[in-house]
Symmetry: C2
């Protein structure tokens, strides 16, 4: 099972991320950078948005899934892939598998929102519904693995971290001289890959994470000096409800300068601001980065900030503003 | 009054558009291009979207307004600017004026949607409300002109046409070897500028317009060989309800190969498809280009198509899908 091999638990370095970037480049979109002088005046810094909401399948997750599956090919591991997901990783894995002529099986809670179910199907994934509890999700996945599927975890794996780190490689080329890299923090795949990439490629850069107050397990883990794996999760940012991964936390502790927490009210306000200034509908998880700048302006004042907008998979029937 | 001078009524050439591109470059965003292989399979052609929905103020209109106001500066014409608009031109003019340290006065019908009123105010425009009839709008504007404001029309003017034509200059550099340029048709500012630019810069290119059936005055004008200035307008595509302009129609007759009409149902379906495949919320006017490809696939089959997505100013409280 490749997902439990030793390499998967080793901290990747910049060479691994650069190799991932080469590997997935034919499959992914080089996402655009947007900036707005008027918005910068409100924020008090120079902000560049790296628009992973415009990535294929609507989130950065497609980078990690594409890297993990391409590596299965390289390592001669055949078979369908599987995961459990109520969100962006499922759709990303389905499309990445389809691009490599593999089947994909996504265990989804039977209360998943319609838009996300449709996204998985549209991208060629087979759905196995389960009851909406962690143990049922894991049982569903175990059943698929027993049938020969290769499990692809959402964040706590070196290949996934390397794939997610490729966004910052592009960003560092598209936008020179950044002082700060800012990303959302959920399971930690994006920020850990970004931190390895940024610290290697951008001299003197500061890496900051943005986390919802209602899923602030990473901020708490940093404060306590050890990984917290239980937290009473309550946030609108559905993409950030996961507990930080084991490998991810090791990297975050070592390379991330700070994690700023923001409230759901601040997140919704930030979504509305991005809609007003960029006409992009970003998901609440993504809006944490804007909320963090507004909540803690002293950390960003006058700096050149590159923020990763992680996804745009909003359920249009349930807009929070 | 610069808006009635002779130059304003002359058909511009590629040199005028290239000059406009240089002139407005510091103010505008070079908007990104997006493509999706999966979506291309549905369409049967290779499509590149030029994302003017991500332009400042959420539409290409900011290009024309920026060019017209920069030319006032160059020609030593001082004073505030004014227009009547219920939509994108008003917000675009407000921001363009603000960038040039001018005031702007926008006559808006008192039934304008809240989001558009807020967009004008956010961009620094002063609003003069009027009753929602053409004569009241024109009377409101005449009052402002009498007080010394310089009127900036939305499309029927050489400086506006040149500004709108700059999007295709960028597109032709971002994406080589296009066979077809495809844009929405309303008053005709975008398609006339695009046609002049495309025919000069892209060898052998075909220029196609997309127009709602419920505002098909341009298609009818082409069929009749003369400009129609009355049409029973009934379409969801609020940005395309205007009658084609005089100067615009001269250019369209000369340089546009075809105008394809699409129904409102086809427009709404196309909006949903773009949301699914790109996670961009585009306004109904913009979706006409996608609808045109689906309605008339034989015109696009196997071709490399560059389509201008004209705007993203959707009222989120009134989504049609």
């Amino acid at each position: 099972m490749p997902m439990k091999d030793i390499a998967a638990e080793q901290i990747p370095d910049i060479a691994d991320i650069l190799a991932a970037e080469q590997r997935i480049r034919p499959m992914i979109r080089t996402t655009p950078i947007l900036a707005d002088t008027q918005f910068n005046k409100i924020l008090g810094c120079e902000l560049w948005l790296k628009c992973e909401n415009l990535q294929r399948t609507g989130s950065f997750k497609f980078r990690g899934a594409s890297n993990a599956i391409a590596l299965l090919d390289e390592n001669g591991i055949n078979g369908d892939v599987a995961t459990h997901s109520s969100g962006n990783h499922g759709a990303a894995l389905a499309l990445a598998a389809s691009n490599h002529n593999r089947g994909s099986w996504i265990v989804m809670p039977d209360n998943s929102v319609k838009a996300k179910v449709e996204a998985v199907r549209r991208n060629g994934g087979e759905i196995v519904f389960c009851q909406p509890f962690q143990q049922d999700r894991e049982k569903g996945l175990a059943g698929l693995v027993a049938k020969g599927c290769v499990p692809i975890p959402p964040y706590d794996h070196a290949d996934i971290i390397c794939g997610q780190g490729t966004a910052v490689i592009e960003l560092s080329k598209q936008c020179r001289g950044l002082d700060i890299i800012l990303t959302p923090v959920g399971g930690g795949g994006l920020i850990s890959g970004s931190a390895i990439g940024a610290k290697a490629l951008i001299p003197g850069v500061t890496v900051i994470g943005a986390e919802p107050e209602g899923a602030a397990d990473t901020a708490m883990s940093l404060r306590w000096g050890k990984r917290v794996d239980q937290f009473p999760v309550d946030t609108i940012a559905d993409g950030l409800r996961a507990m930080v991964g084991v490998l991810n936390f090791k990297i975050i502790r070592d390379k991330v300068n700070k994690v700023i927490t923001v409230s759901d009210v601040e997140i919704v306000d930030a979504m509305a601001l991005v809609w007003q200034h960029f006409r992009m509908l970003i998901e609440p998880s993504s809006a944490t980065v804007i909320a963090a700048i507004l909540a803690s302006p002293e950390d960003f004042s006058g700096s050149r900030v590159g923020a990763i907008i992680s996804g745009g998979n909003v359920d249009l029937e349930r807009l929070p503003f």
